[in-house]
């Protein structure tokens, strides 16, 4: 709420200023800019460093990436100077060729298909599990804080450590999971060596990593729902499912829309889990768009900077389209974020 008020007041102030400027009838925007600078110079000076830093660390790479995606730049033809060897750049502008290749070839579309399956299943599972656990932990059960602590643990451990731990668990011959299965008389499962099992394994790991965030966020949402609503519903004879459906879900809507959007973007670009667990393998079975873009830029040889940038730009466009679409759907439902 506080944010809304500030936003309004800023908008109003800005509106006033513009109106005043026009009413004076100078008609020269230059004069307005000058005056704006003279009255707000302090604000501009304060904002300037941030603007410069953002331009340098976000704007420049972005523009450079878009430019490279329109060329045929690779490791052999970019400029480099190593000691006495000065090698000038010889790459050329090729227009939209890279985009045509990516969108008409089977590799991009195939990888995109699996990326979508991966994102949807990970987000759906983490959300469902997170919601379930948050509901349990929201009750007054014995040892609640201990449970909360344990359930938040996967989030507290650095991501790469968890992923390496999972890699040991999944090891076909020496991993804990197969040893447990062997105890039950079940044959060893080729967790990371079979394409289908590998896909299930990476999803399981990512869900394990993602649940704590969902749980904490939804638990916060649950605690902001007034208890009186439940009491009143109970008085009216609503059963638990009806209470969940008509009080909990609407009460959680603003939290859940935000976490689903965030989680979708994160999972879509979840580099470490795939890269550290399977490196996109076996073969290319678990390769998602970002790991493939990384592969173009750092693993194949000669490194294909153009192709990698093309995929990067396409990933950005896809996520922007998704966010815009999602926002529109929410707006129709009367939500603002």
């Amino acid at each position: 709420m506080a944010v809304d008020t500030t936003g309004q007041s800023v908008a109003k102030a800005a509106g006033d200023h513009v109106a005043r400027g026009r009413s004076r009838g100078t008609g020269k925007s230059r004069g307005a800019a000058k005056r704006s600078l003279s009255t707000h110079w302090y604000a501009w000076a304060m904002v300037a460093p941030v603007t410069v830093v953002i331009a340098v660390i976000i704007g420049y790479p972005l523009v450079r990436g878009i430019y490279l995606s329109l060329t045929d730049a690779n490791e052999r033809n970019v400029a480099r100077s190593i000691g006495v060897n000065q090698i000038p750049a010889t790459y050329e502008f090729v227009g939209l060729d890279n985009y045509t290749d990516a969108l008409t070839g089977s590799q991009f579309l195939g990888t995109l298909g699996w990326t979508i399956v991966w994102t949807v299943s990970c987000v759906a599972l983490t959300f469902a599990l997170g919601l379930g656990l948050a509901n349990i932990l929201n009750r007054r059960i014995a040892g609640r804080s201990a449970y909360r602590l344990l359930l938040i643990l996967p989030w507290a451990v650095p991501g790469f450590v968890s992923v390496f731990a999972w890699r040991f668990l999944y090891n076909q011959d020496n991993g804990l999971l197969n040893k447990v299965l062997a105890g039950g008389g079940i044959d060893a499962v080729p967790w990371l060596n079979d394409p289908t099992w590998a896909k299930l394994s990476v999803i399981a790991t990512n869900v394990w990593l993602g649940v704590p965030f969902m749980m904490v966020a939804l638990l916060g949402g649950l605690q902001s729902i007034p208890g009186e609503l439940y009491e009143a519903a109970e008085m009216d004879g609503a059963n638990p499912w009806q209470r969940f459906r008509h009080i909990t879900m609407p009460g959680l809507r603003s939290v859940s829309t935000t976490v689903i959007l965030l989680s979708t973007i994160w999972t879509f670009n979840m580099f470490p889990v795939i890269f550290l667990l399977t490196r996109g393998g076996p073969g290319e079975a678990t390769q998602i768009l970002v790991t493939q873009a990384y592969k173009f830029s750092f693993e194949v040889s000669p490194r294909d900077f153009a192709q990698s940038s093309t995929w990067g730009v396409l990933i950005l466009v896809l996520l922007m389209v998704f966010a815009a679409f999602y926002q529109r759907v929410l707006r129709k439902q009367g939500e603002v974020w």
């Binding site: 490791e75 052999r76 970019v78 480099r80 100077s81 190593i82 000691g83 006495v84 060897n85 090698i87 890699r167 090891n171 076909q172 011959d173 020496n174 990371l192 060596n193 079979d194 394409p195 590998a198 667990l277 399977t278 490196r279 393998g281 076996p282 073969g283 290319e284 079975a285 750092f298 693993e299 194949v300 040889s301 000669p302 490194r303």
Partner: protein, 424 residues
């Protein structure tokens, strides 16, 4: 009197100059006029961690005995990452080592990209005629020498003599025998016959050569991986895995292979001299005599293992070129090679080292020397280092049943034709 003053002044001036030289050993400057080397030499080693790296580190740091003003900074970079890491660092111009242990196939590629300093006429190359011809072949690119051969190797079958005795089998000489032997081992001992790495296509090469295939035919500028022989080789390895004669992994292949073999869970593996020291560390090989080594099995068209090995190359952007040249020379000198061979059973690249008694008497070296002499050389073109990435993806796909040998071979061939412009 006057002359005396002049002489004193001269001496004083010289003293100042020398002091200035001596004081500048901060790492940014190499040797100065005085001829003594100074500064820091960073060396990226890629040898096996846990066994080889300790020996190499010690030997490298001993360089300072001869050159007390040089600091050697030893860094072990895992072999699988070194190629990319070096390319990243070399291109950006920061963080690259002065000297890198470059796999033979990487050397022409690094040289082509302009990352390596030419070594002809520098202190790095001494007694060049002493180097084995095959070892020196990979160091030349466009008429210049870009590296010094450090070790040479090839591959053979490592087998567990105890398991073989238990199962009552002989070492297989062909792929067909390999299947029969594995079946018998499984039946008698319940163990798997062969471990075949599924995450590294280098382990596929001896099967490819065995069927008469190769990656490319460089003299004729032809891609040969998708020839009938190449397809057959893919079928052979797939059959080994499908029939249960061999087990494989698509991730962590090296560790899984070494663990399985060292613990006696598999009877055979295909490997090279670089694995000897690590294998002896396993409990199954506490008695070193239990390890047997034999030539790789022959295919339907012949028998062959790839020639591998490592060179020492100097980064063109090194701020300390003279010390780096001297370091490369020291690490590949006959004395150093003899020391390394004695401790790690690695094969030296100098003819003269093989004549030394403790090298000549080393069983592993005695075995691998004739194998290396016959080993299949890879084409030393700049793209050699690029040929494995497309191959390993399809190789794993074939082994895990995601594609057929025919389709896999064709995909790799198409990838090569894109990489090697104007090749057939």
């Amino acid at each position: 009197m006057r002359r005396g003053i002049a002489a004193t002044a001269l001496v004083a001036a010289l003293g100042v100059t020398l002091a200035a030289c001596g004081g500048s050993d901060s790492g940014s400057s190499g040797s100065k006029g005085s001829g003594e080397l100074s500064g820091t030499v960073t060396w990226w080693d890629t040898s096996t961690v846990g066994s080889e790296d300790k020996v190499f580190k010690k030997v490298a740091e001993d360089f300072t005995k001869a050159h007390p003003k040089v600091t050697v900074k030893y860094v072990n970079v895992p072999f699988g990452e070194a190629q990319n890491k070096f390319k990243n660092a070399a291109q950006s111009g920061s963080g690259a080592p002065d000297v890198i242990r470059s796999e033979v196939a990487w050397t022409p590629e690094f040289a082509d990209l302009g990352y390596l300093a030419p070594l002809d006429g520098t202190a790095a190359l001494k007694n060049q005629d002493d180097f084995l011809k095959q070892a020196a072949a990979s160091t030349k690119y466009k008429g210049k020498t870009y590296a010094v051969p450090q070790v040479i190797d090839s591959m053979g079958i490592f087998y567990n003599k105890k398991i073989f005795k238990e199962a009552g089998v002989q070492v297989p000489k062909t792929v067909d025998e390999l299947k029969a032997v594995s079946a018998k081992i499984k039946q008698k001992t319940g163990k798997t016959g062969l471990y075949l790495r599924g995450d590294d296509a280098y382990w596929f090469l001896s099967f490819l050569y065995g069927e008469g295939g190769d990656l490319v035919d460089a003299p004729n500028k032809k891609v040969t991986i998708d020839s009938p022989a190449g397809v057959k080789a893919f079928k052979v390895v797939k059959d080994l895995v499908d029939s249960g004669a061999a087990k494989t992994d698509a991730t962590d292949g090296w560790n899984n292979m070494q663990t399985a073999f060292k613990e006696g869970k598999v009877a055979m593996m295909i490997n090279g001299p670089w694995a000897v020291a690590d294998t002896y560390a396993g409990k199954e090989f506490a008695d070193k005599a239990n390890l047997g080594i034999a030539p790789v099995p022959a295919g339907s068209a012949g028998q062959g293992a790839p020639q591998g090995g490592h060179n020492l190359a100097v980064y063109a952007g090194s701020k300390n070129l003279d010390a780096s040249y001297a370091f490369a020379e020291y690490m590949t000198s006959a004395e150093t090679q003899a020391k390394i061979s004695k401790e790690l059973s690695l094969l030296p690249t100098r003819e003269s080292v093989y004549l030394k008694s403790d090298v000549a008497l080393n069983e592993q070296i005695a075995f691998f020397k004739p194998v290396v002499d016959k080993a299949v050389e890879r084409p030393w073109i700049p793209e050699t280092g690029s040929l494995f990435a497309p191959l390993v993806t399809e190789y794993t796909k074939v082994l895990t049943g995601q594609t057929t040998p025919e389709k896999g071979a064709k995909t790799v061939g198409d990838g090569y034709r894109k990489l090697l412009k104007d090749w057939k």
